[in-house]
Amino acid sequence: MSPDRTPAHATPAHAPAPPGSAGSAPAGGGSRPGRGQDVIHNIGYRGYEGPRLGRSYARRALFSQTLRGAYGLGRSAKSKVLPMLLFAAVSVPAAIVVAVSVVAKSDDLPVGYSEYVLMMQPLIGIYLAAAAPQAFSLDLRFKTTPLYFSRPMERGDYVVAKFAALSAALFVFTAAPVLIMYAGALLAKLGFAEQSGAAAQGLVFCALFALLHAAIAAWIAALTPRRGFGIAAIIVAVTVPFFLITALQGIAWTSDSKEAVGWLGVASPGTLLDGIQSTFLGGSSQFPGGQDLTGAQGAVYLVVLAALLVCFYALLQRRYRKAGL
């Protein structure tokens, strides 16, 4: 019964000895003489003396875990199917675009880098709607958030790691087709300097796209423990404003209020990013009539983008002031 008992003590005659007798016998082996009865509770647990990896390690671990989880890596084979299918669906058309321009020997890609990302918005929205609740809602549903917060990790660490991982997953998802197109453009011997510049702008656009959409989706997913509900809410928040604003822009365009087309675009994440890429990142506008923004509109677009990012990130931080729901 004592921590360092010898084989001699383990004989059947000694095994059922009551605690009182164990305390009076020299069974303590000299480790803690005179401590009396509490010796019986010492069943050999040892303290941890290895390295403590600390907050930053926990943050990095949570980041990579979430990023891998967003593509189903480290999860069951079944949960790899959907992200991989969507990833293929967003990348394969890029390869086709490249192949077409190589065969046709055109001197430019038929679709711009950031235009391509904007065209793929429904697919990206669905990937985001599937990935965000997986990253956020399941921790709430299975009540693992209190376990995270019982580690040296703090609220800010959890939010930063999860948000960064979701943004990174989305960035990989959007940047992969851009890189495919860039590689194809170089293989087709389109102008190197010109294509590199455009691809770099495309990547910046991908980063902005990923940050904004991840912020919105993360906040919505963090509000609900139910995955199905999170998926529906995110897709509604991302696609409905886009379709609505596009329809309204069409109406404004046909009724000859051209100025209104630009102002309306502020109101949905998709059109906001569209305006920014056409004004600042050298893309061509998807607005009706391919209309560009005026200088004042461009400034407002940037301010709104920054405000949305800060606002949704602050909301996400605020959400985790309480670990449960």
Binding site: R75, S76, K78, S79, L82, P122, L123, G125, I126, A129, A130, T224, R226, R227, G228, F229, I231, A232, A233, I235, V236, T239, V240, F243, L244, T246, A247, L248, G250, I251, T254, S255
Partner: protein, 240 residues
């Protein structure tokens, strides 16, 4: 075949939680936008048709259909509480039929009624545009409910697959590949709207009316029957 208790449970599951918020927010958005467009632009048949066709029928109805259709059975299968329902002496096809009726009712109420009101707000039902689109929304609601209820029994990712169908197949591929439109609930419903609306209303569908009606009936009846069959042999998957 209709089981009032199952109907009540389904109805409360659909409208009791925050699901109801999304279900209310979408129609409210449509109404606000229609009022704003009317106030800025005045009554215009082309604008009304554009808004109701491009936004209401293409986005609102499928989304409400996905939420109500998969929400009628998906969460129950997901959290395993469906076994308590299935262990009762209620025929499973009748469970499905009841859930289908409730889901299509909810979808119709939250999509067709706002479409009708929005149509009247936009142009006072000139050329029967409001009635035509509302009718199309009702028909589409029924078909979507059957389709997404079936998805809910077949797959754990019913919501994602349903959204992929509604947003990618109908919107993206349908606009690029003409043939994909033949297999689109939205186009079948539009065929009906085309018939009802006046000739100047500029509603056009990619499929003829007889084809549309046959396909709608096949999808609705077939989806419900197959979902009933699927529920009879349902195995509960563990958490991944």
């Amino acid at each position: 075949m209709f089981n009032p208790t199952v109907a009540r449970l389904t109805y409360r599951a659909l409208l009791g939680r925050r699901r109801a918020l999304i279900l209310c927010a979408l129609p409210a958005l449509l109404l606000v936008v229609s009022a704003a467009v009317r106030a800025m632009n005045g009554a215009d048949d082309a604008v009304a048709s554009q808004l109701l066709g491009d936004f209401a029928l293409a986005t609102l109805v499928p989304l409400v259909g996905v939420i109500a259709g998969t929400g009628a059975i998906g969460p129950e299968i997901d959290d395993g509480s469906v076994v308590y329902l299935l262990s009762k002496p209620v025929p499973r096809p009748s469970v499905i039929l009841t859930k289908f009726l409730v889901a299509s009712g909810v979808t119709a109420v939250f999509s067709a009624v706002p479409v009708l009101v929005a149509g009247f707000v936009l142009n006072g039902n000139s050329q029967q545009i409001a009635v035509a689109y509302a009718l199309a929304a009702v028909v589409a609601s029924v078909a979507y409910s059957a389709l997404f209820l079936l998805l809910g029994t077949v797959s754990r990712h019913a919501v994602v697959i349903g959204l992929a169908y509604a947003l990618i197949w109908e919107a993206l591929i349908g606009s690029l590949v003409g043939g994909a439109k033949t297999l689109s609930v939205q186009q079948w419903a539009l065929a009906l709207a085309e018939k009802v609306a006046g000739s100047g209303a500029d509603i056009s569908s990619a499929v003829g009316l007889p084809t549309a009606v046959v396909l709608l009936v096949v999808v609705t009846v077939g989806g419900t029957l197959f979902a009933g069959q699927k529920l009879r042999t349902l195995t509960l998957a563990g958490e991944e």
